[in-house]
Symmetry: C2
Subunit: 655 residues, 2 copies
C-alpha cells in the first residue's frame, strides 16, 4: 500500500486477496444488458478485481419491474456457486455488483444472498468546494485532486475516486466550489471543455453525472453585459447561447449548482427579483438538454449588526423561500442545509424541509468537518444525519419525516435527494484522518438507503477498511458512534453553536462571533445565555408545523439539547437531570474532555492491528483532539465561571 | 501636485513658490567646507529649491567647536540679507540648511535667525518592516517603495524619501523587516549588492547610513552550515568571510538590526547561549569595518499558556537582559521598545531603559499605527513619546530620565538614540492618512531635539504642510494634541491594553487575546479586571527603581492611567474622580466615541482650506474612525456590562 500514491479506502481488495492466494474463476453472463455498455463494463471489471480468488458465475439480468437504479442480488448453490444481479438499468446493475463485493468482504456467504434495494433518494450527490487553484475551501485533507494551478487533472486517481463514489451509490458530483470565482468562472468556456468532457466520461463509466457550480454573474464576467438580471432579455439570450455551447460540448452534464445572493455572491436580489426568478430562468434555458438547477437556500444577511436582536439569521431561509413555494419550475431543486444556521454540531432541523411542499427539495449536509473538528477530532456524523432524516416535520399526517420529504415520497415531487460537502483531498488517505473516511462511506450508503442504522454503516465501513478481530471491531464501532456527542460535550452547549475561532472554525473562542456581522450570537451575560427564538423573541420557533412549534416555543418542552438555541436561559435553570444550566456546562465540558482522552487511550489498543501508517496518523490526530478538547473545556468553563461567578459544585479547576 | 506620483509632504516648496512669483538670487559661499562634498551639495541644492524667490547670501562655515552633527544658523541684514550656517561636519551643515528652510516656511525672518542646535541623540533611525515581495508588515500606506517583487527599486522617490528623512534629522535607516525571511535573507549576497550600493549612495548624499536587518540563521540558510551557534568556530569563521564580502561591497553600511529568539525567529537560545553571546559575536566580526549591531530586546515566551498566571510577558525583557548588563561589546546597542508589551496605546515605560547602565541602549517606538488605529484613526503620538522621554527612571540622582539615558548623557555610553517603526508606504501621500505624516515628521524632529514640545512640533508640521489661517492652524494642532487620549478612551482602559482583533489589530475584540498564547491578558471576571503585577502578583513592579517600584506596587499611588496594568481592581473601586471603575469604563468609552465624532465634525471646517484630495481622504478616514470608535465603545461597554451586571449610572444604551 505504501508504494501507492493514494489508498484504496474500503475497496482495498488487493491487500486482502494477497492473504488468500487461491486462483478462482468468475464467469459472467448477461440477460438483457449490453456487455459493451460503459457502466456494465465497469461493474464487470470491479467484480473481476474483487472476486479473483473465488469460483463463481454471475448473471446480469434486466428486470424492468425493478425501480430506477434498484437492484436485486440473489445467490444460490445450484451445482456451481452463482449470483444473479437484477436491475432495470445499468446503474442498478453496478450497485448490485458493489453489493456483491460488499457482502463478500463483510463476510456474508454469496450463495445465500437475497437482497433487493431501491435507492431512497433519486439524487445522491457530492459537492466539492475545490477551487481551480488547487485549494479547497474548508478542506482538511490536502489540496484538490481535480485541479492543479488552474488546470484540470485527470489520472488514475480520478478513476479510483469515481469507483469509490459508485460503490456507495453516489450518482452526481459537483466538482467546483459553490463560491465561483477567478478561473472557475471559465469552466463554462472553451478553456476547460476538453478536460471536462474527459472527466464527465470517467464519471459516466460509473453511472455518475458531472455537475458544475455556476457563477450567476457570468453574463457580466464572461459576457461583458452590464447586468445579470434574470428577467433581462439580453441576459436570457446570453444564457441560451452559452448553455447551447456548454451542452454541445458536455452532453452528459447533469446541471448546475448555484449559490446566489449569499455571503457576497451575486444574485437576483440585486435586480429586485426573487430567488425563483433567478432559478427558473436558468432552469428554462437548460431544460431542453435535460439539465437541472440546484439552487441553494443559504441566503441570509451576513452584515447584521450584533446590537440588533430582532433580525435572526435562523429565520432567513424560510423567510426568503417559503412564500415562493410552488413557483419553482420542475427542473429546479432547492438545496437546503440541515439546520437553519451552518453545519453546527447541534442545530434544529431547517423548517424549510417539509415547510415547502410544492417544490423539489434536497437535503445538504457537510462531511467536511468545518465546525466539527477539521478531520482532526473524531466526529462520526451519520448518527446526526439519521436524526435529521428521522425528524417528524408534521408537514402531513403520514410520510412526514425529512427522509420522506427529500425522497419525494411525501409530496411526489419530481426531484429529491441528499448532497454533502465532501471531506476529501489529495492526501494519501483521501480524508486526512483515516477514520474520517467513515463519513465519506457513510454518507453515500445512507443517501442510498436512509433506513440503514448508523451502527450498521459504521460496522460495514470498519470491516471493509480494517478487517479487525470482533472485539476491536466492536470497540471501533463504539468509538465512532459516541464521537459526535463527545465533540458536542466539549464544544458549544445545548444547541447554541459557534463559540469557535472566527474564520478558521477550529478551536474555541467563546466571544469570537459574539460581536460580529454574521448573525451568530449566544447573548451570554451575568445571568444566563441563549437566544430567545420564541414568539416573544425572534419568532423563529413559529416557522415549524404544530406541535413542533409549540414544543420549541416552551423551554419546558423544548428538547434540552436545543434549549439554548430557542431560549435565553438563566444559569440556575434546572435541567431534567437536576443539574443547573451552569453546572451542566461545567460537567459536560469536563466529561467531553475526559471522553476525548478515553478515545485516545482506546486507540492505543489498535497498534499492530491496523497498518502502522494508519495507527500513527490516527494517534497523532487523537493527540491533537485531546489538546483541542482541553482548550475548549477550559475556555468555555472559564468564560462562564468568570461571567456567572457561580462556582463548580465539584470544585474542579476552572481558570 | 496631482500630476505627481507622490506628494512632497512638508517640503512642498513648489506649490508655495507658485504663490510668490518673484525671482530671487541665492549666493552660496564656503568657509572650511568642500563645495564638492556630497552632503554639502545636497544642502546647497535644497536651499536653491526652497529659497529661489528671495535674495540672500548663505555661507557654510566650518566651526570645530560645535558638536557632532550640530549646527548654528545666524542671520543678519548687513547691507544684504545673509545667513551663516556653521557646523563641525557636513551633517550639521545639512541640518542647518534645513533649519533655514523650516524657519523660512514657518514664517520666521531669516535675517533674525540665531539658533544653535546639537542633536539630542547620536542615532536617529527609521526601521522599515518592508518585505522584499513588496508587502509591509504592519503597513497601512500601500506597499513598499523599496521593493517590488523581490527586486530593489531605486528612482526619484528614493531621493525624495532621503530628503524628507534628512530634513528632520534622521541619520540611519534599516530598510528591511526585522523578520528576515525568504529573499530578504539574500540581502547580504551578490544578488543585491549592486542595488544596495546605489541605495546606500543616495542615503549618503543626505548624511544617512544604510542598515540591514539580519537573519541570525544565515550560516544555515545561506552557508549550508548545520548550526548558527554564535560560539561555534565554523559559524564565526563563516560570518567573518561573509562580513568581509558585505563590507567590500557596501563600505558605507552602518551595521545590522537583529531580532533573535523572538516570535519564532532563530537566536542564540537555541544553542544555550545568551543574547550577549549572539550580539557580541556579530559585533566583533563587523568591528573592523566600523559597523554596529543593534540587538532588539523584544524577547519573550510567545507560547504562554493563558492558564498560567505566574509567567508575565511584561517581565521578560528585563529578566532576559538585565543580568547581562556590562557584557555587551561597545559596538552593540540594545534596542528597547518603549513599553514592556508591544506598542499599546498606554503602557508603563520599559524598566530596561535605565535599568541597564553599562550597556548602549536605544529607545524603539512605532509610528506605524499597528495598535493605535492603522493610520485610519487620528492618533498623534508625539505626546506619548514626550511622556516616555520625560519619565524619571531614578536610575541615578540626576540625569535620570529616559531622554537622559538614551542620549548617553546619563551614563556616558558610547552609543544611544531613538528608532521608530516607520509608517510609510508607496501611497500617493506616503502615510495613508495625510494627518499621519505628523508622526513621521514629529518623530524625526523629536529624536533630534527631545526638548521640543509636542505642540511646537505639531504646529511646525501643520504650518509647513498646510499653511492655514491662524484659527484653523490652532484647531488642527488641538485636534492632533488630543487625538491620542481620544483613541485611548474608546479602546482598552487604564493601561490594560489589547482587547483588539487578533492578527489584524484594528477594531475591538475584548477577549480576542484573552485565551491565547501571547501573554496578553486582562483577566476580567464578574468582580473586576486587571493583572496583578505587584510583589504579590508577578512581581513586575519590582523591576523599577525606587520610588517607582513602590508607587506602581500600590493601587492607591499607581498612576490611574496604568491602574489595570499593575493591579486587578474590582469594578466598584473608587477612582480619584469619584467614579467607580465600571462607571469610568462606561463614561470614558462614551466620551471617546463622542470625541471621535467631534473630530469628524471639526474636520468639515477644513473644506476649501486644504487641497480637495487632502480633505476627501481625511474625511473618509474620520468616517471610518467614527465607525471604529462606535464599535469599540459598544463592544467594550457591553462586554463589561454583561460580565459585571452593573448598570450605567446615566442609563445610556448598552447592549
Amino acid at each position: 500500500m505504501a508504494d501507492n500514491k493514494w489508498t484504496q479506502l474500503w475497496l482495498d481488495y488487493e491487500s486482502k486477496l494477497q492473504q488468500n492466494e487461491e486462483e478462482g474463476e468468475v464467469g459472467i453472463s448477461f440477460d438483457g444488458f449490453d456487455a459493451e455498455n460503459r457502466v456494465i463494463q465497469s461493474a464487470v471489471e470491479e467484480l473481476m478485481r474483487a472476486l479473483s480468488d473465488i469460483n463463481l458465475t454471475i448473471e446480469f439480468k434486466k428486470d424492468e419491474t425493478l425501480a430506477k437504479e434498484a437492484f436485486s442480488v440473489v445467490g444460490s448453490l445450484d451445482g456451481d456457486a452463482n449470483v444473479v444481479i437484477s436491475a432495470s438499468d445499468e446503474n442498478g446493475a453496478l450497485y448490485g455488483a458493489f453489493q456483491v463485493i460488499r457482502s463478500r468482504y463483510t463476510g456474508q456467504g454469496l450463495t445465500k444472498l437475497n437482497i433487493t434495494k431501491a435507492p431512497s433518494n433519486p439524487l445522491r450527490m457530492m459537492n466539492h468546494w475545490d477551487n481551480l487553484d488547487g485549494s479547497i475551501e474548508r478542506g482538511y485533507s490536502g489540496n484538490s485532486f481535480f485541479y492543479v494551478n488552474n488546470e484540470i487533472e485527470i489520472n488514475d486517481r480520478t478513476v479510483d475516486y469515481a469507483r469509490f463514489m459508485a460503490s456507495v451509490g453516489i450518482n452526481g458530483i459537483v466538482i467546483n466550489n459553490v463560491n465561483v470565482k477567478q478561473a472557475a468562472s471559465d469552466l463554462i468556456t472553451t478553456r476547460y471543455f476538453d478536460k471536462l468532457r474527459l472527466l464527465s466520461d470517467i464519471f459516466a463509466d460509473y453511472g455518475i453525472k458531472l455537475y458544475l457550480s455556476l457563477n450567476f454573474a457570468s453574463p457580466i464576467e464572461l459576457g461583458g453585459l452590464e447586468v445579470c438580471d434574470p428577467l433581462d432579455d439580453g441576459v436570457i439570450s446570453w444564457w441560451k447561447d452559452k448553455m447551447k455551447e456548454v451542452y454541445d460540448n458536455l452532453p452528459n452534464l447533469g446541471g448546475f449548482l448555484v449559490k446566489a445572493d449569499s455571503e457576497g455572491r451575486p444574485g437576483p436580489f440585486t435586480y429586485g427579483r426573487t430567488q425563483a426568478d433567478g432559478a427558473n430562468m436558468l432552469a428554462d434555458v437548460i431544460a431542453p438538454y435535460g439539465g437541472i438547477i440546484i439552487w441553494r437556500c443559504f441566503v441570509y444577511n451576513c452584515t447584521q449588526d450584533w446590537r440588533d436582536t430582532k433580525t435572526d439569521r435562523a429565520r432567513a431561509g424560510y423567510d426568503y423561500f417559503k412564500d415562493l413555494d410552488g413557483q419553482y419550475h420542475d427542473n429546479v431543486i432547492l438545496q437546503i442545509k440541515n439546520g437553519p444556521m451552518d453545519f453546527q454540531i447541534r442545530e434544529p432541523i431547517s423548517p424549510l424541509l417539509g415547510g415547502l411542499t410544492k417544490t423539489n427539495q434536497m437535503l445538504e449536509v457537510q462531511i467536511a468537518q468545518e465546525y466539527t473538528g477539521h478531520q482532526i477530532d473524531l466526529c462520526y456524523l451519520i448518527p446526526m444525519f439519521k436524526e435529521i432524516l428521522g425528524f417528524k416535520t408534521y408537514c402531513q399526517e403520514e410520510n412526514d419525516t425529512v427522509a420522506d420529504v427529500i425522497s419525494t415520497r411525501a409530496f411526489g415531487n419530481k426531484l429529491g435527494g441528499m448532497a454533502t460537502v465532501i471531506n476529501t483531498g489529495n492526501d494519501y488517505n483521501w480524508t486526512g484522518n483515516y477514520l474520517a473516511a467513515a463519513n465519506l462511506y457513510g454518507f453515500g450508503r445512507l443517501a442510498f438507503d436512509t433506513e440503514l442504522s448508523a451502527e450498521v454503516i459504521a460496522r460495514e465501513w470498519v470491516r471493509l477498511s480494517f478487517n479487525l478481530e470482533k472485539d476491536l471491531e466492536d470497540k471501533l464501532v463504539q468509538m465512532l458512534l459516541g464521537s459526535r456527542e463527545t465533540y458536542e460535550k466539549y464544544t458549544s452547549p445545548l444547541g447554541i453553536g459557534w463559540m469557535v475561532t472566527p474564520q478558521g472554525h477550529y478551536g474555541p473562542s467563546v466571544d469570537g462571533y459574539e460581536y460580529s456581522r454574521w448573525g451568530t450570537y449566544h447573548r451570554a451575560d451575568h445571568f444566563g445565555l441563549g437566544v430567545d427564538r420564541t414568539d416573544k423573541g425572534t419568532g423563529y420557533a413559529q416557522q415549524y408545523y404544530q406541535p413542533n412549534a409549540d414544543m420549541y416555543n416552551d423551554p419546558k418542552t423544548c428538547p434540552e439539547n436545543l434549549l439554548l438555541f430557542f431560549h435565553h436561559i438563566p444559569y440556575d435553570w434546572k435541567l431534567k437531570s437536576g443539574q443547573t444550566l451552569i453546572q451542566y456546562i461545567y460537567d459536560s465540558h469536563f466529561e467531553g474532555y475526559a471522553e476525548a482522552k478515553e478515545l485516545q487511550k482506546s486507540w492505543k489498543e489498535f497498534e499492530g492491528k491496523v497498518p502502522q501508517e494508519v495507527f500513527d496518523c490516527v494517534s497523532h490526530r487523537f493527540e491533537m483532539q485531546v489538546a483541542n478538547a482541553r482548550e475548549w473545556c477550559d475556555q468555555v468553563n472559564s468564560y462562564f465561571y468568570r461571567k456567572s461567578a457561580v462556582a463548580d459544585e465539584k470544585g474542579r479547576e476552572i481558570f
